[in-house]
């Protein structure tokens, strides 16, 4: 019994060691040919600034649609559009903030 509790505890610790982005995004995107970096650049190309990019991503995740997707038609035909997110507002914002900070251009150019 003690052993079972220890395993569940360890699993709980491991799961919560990952952040909202890693927990909710990476697992699905790992299987896609287009990287999260590529997708980020597509968002940049369309929305430009931090506020716009974040708002664009959030809106798409909440209301996924072919019409507002930044991905190519070929990609959507092949992999279709994602399911509507089930994440809470806070978790969604956290995941998007992490995504922005991970791939943003600011401070990376030389």
């Amino acid at each position: 019994m003690v052993k079972k509790i220890f395993i569940i505890f360890c699993l709980f610790i491991v799961l919560h060691a990952e952040d909202a982005f890693e927990r909710n995004c990476i697992s699905c995107h790992e299987n896609l040919p287009s990287t999260l970096q590529e997708m980020f650049k597509r968002y940049l190309l369309v929305y430009s600034s931090e506020n716009n990019v974040k708002a664009g991503i959030k809106h798409y995740l909440k209301y996924p649609s072919k019409d507002i997707s930044t991905m190519s038609d070929l990609f959507i035909e092949r992999y279709s559009i994602k399911e509507k997110t089930t994440l809470s507002e806070k978790e969604l914002d956290d995941a998007i903030d992490i995504y922005w900070n991970k791939y943003k251009i600011f401070g990376k150019l030389k």
């Binding site: 650049k41 990376k108 030389k110």
Partner: protein
């Protein structure tokens, strides 16, 4: 109408000069303002012309830079080296005007203008439709060599000075043209006063001489009173005549300065006005010490006459006209109506009369002031309404 210019007219040039100077100052200020406005407009036009010539080059640089950003966007983040070009400096901003990367020397970017000068640089703002690396605005910056400004300044200075002097000459011509009617009126008035005073001289002298010669002992009292009235009236007109003559003729005359015994002169002039003083039942009060002064007798007489005349004219019945003399100071005082504090600043102005019930042109004290100033003397007015006035002359 032909009006002759004479010495009298020239004496009135001071007022003309004042008007001329005021008009001219205003006119030149406006001309200067106009030249500055035209120069500013010219400068701005030339600046715009220079910028429009630069625009094509900077647009080309902007296009090149956009292409390089596009490549960098696709290869980011394998490549992170911002594209640099020796011909220009650049910066990229996102749609919220946040700098993504900048190598500009002047970071004061004006996003609402396409091309502009800032300090020693020219900056061009190119807006992108595809936001490579999030870039909405590319700023291209080149050095402004300022050569275009040298020519503009040369033109502004040369044409500005030329037109300034041209308009100045035109202004002088205009001023003279505008002043002509005023000058004609003054000349006409001068001639009128001069002719009138000239015509007054002979009859007035005849009246005064005959009054002096009349044997009053043989007259009955009634006639004596009438003769006194004629004498007072004639002396009043005579004082006025002398003032007007001074204004129109004598003030331009060379001074014939001499040493004058003031005590004797004051006694004489007081005696001359005695009959006027008697008519108002005024008493003289003398405190005269010997005093000498070196000046033109005619002018000094005008000063004393006017001061005594005023002291009598504005006195109350049974009042006192006082004379106090010591070396360097003469005081003539009265127990008359006095001058209000608000009127005090204007006592020496020409044609100013505070009491309309008394006759005169209001020129007396202005003549006094002119003579006093000519001789670097000082006159002080001490007055209290309803109590009297004290005129203190110092030299």
């Amino acid at each position: 109408m032909s009006v002759l210019k004479n010495k009298v007219t020239n004496s009135l040039l001071a007022s003309e000069k004042k008007s001329l100077l005021r008009f001219f100052a205003l006119y030149m200020a406006m001309i200067l303002l106009l030249i500055i406005m035209i120069s500013t407009y010219y400068y701005q036009t030339q600046e715009k012309l220079m910028l429009s010539q630069q625009r094509a080059t900077l647009f080309k640089y902007g296009y090149i830079h956009a292409k390089r950003l596009k490549v960098l966007h696709h290869f980011f983040d394998e490549r992170v080296d911002y594209p640099r070009d020796p011909r220009f400096k650049s910066a990229i901003y996102d749609i919220d005007y946040k700098s993504i990367f900048s190598i500009l020397e002047d970071t004061h970017v004006k996003f609402d203008e396409e091309i502009y000068r800032t300090g020693n640089h020219i900056q061009f703002v190119k807006s992108l439709d595809d936001f490579y690396l999030g870039t909405k605005y590319i700023i291209i910056e080149v050095q402004d060599d300022g050569l275009w400004k040298d020519d503009i300044w040369k033109h502004i200075l040369a044409y500005g000075i030329f037109f300034f002097f041209l308009f100045m000459l035109f202004g002088l011509y205009l001023a003279k043209l505008f002043l002509k009617p005023m000058r004609d009126s003054i000349v006409l008035l001068d001639r009128f006063i001069k002719d009138t005073t000239h015509e007054l001289n002979t009859p007035l002298s005849a009246i005064l001489a005959n009054i002096e010669m009349m044997d009053t002992d043989a007259m009955i009292d009634k006639n004596k009173t009438k003769l006194n009235r004629i004498n007072i009236a004639a002396k009043t007109v005579s004082t006025l005549y002398k003032d007007l003559t001074f204004l129109t003729l004598e003030q331009e005359k060379e001074n014939e300065d001499e040493s004058i015994d003031l005590k004797i002169l004051i006694e004489n002039r007081a005696e001359y006005f005695a009959i006027l003083a008697q008519s108002k039942k005024l008493n003289y009060q003398f405190d005269l010490n010997p005093a000498m002064i070196y000046m033109d007798r005619q002018k000094l007489t005008r000063v004393i006459d006017n001061l005594i005349s005023n002291a009598i004219k504005y006195n109350k019945r049974n009042g006192i006209v006082g004379f106090s003399l010591k070396q360097g100071e003469l005081t003539i005082w009265d127990t008359g109506i006095g001058i209000s504090e608000s009127d005090m600043d204007f006592v020496f102005d020409r044609y100013i009369r505070f009491n309309q019930s008394e006759g005169g042109f209001g020129v007396g004290l202005s003549i006094v002031k002119k003579i006093v100033d000519d001789y670097n003397m000082h006159i002080k007015v001490i007055s209290k309404e309803s109590e009297g006035t004290k005129m203190v002359l110092t030299w």
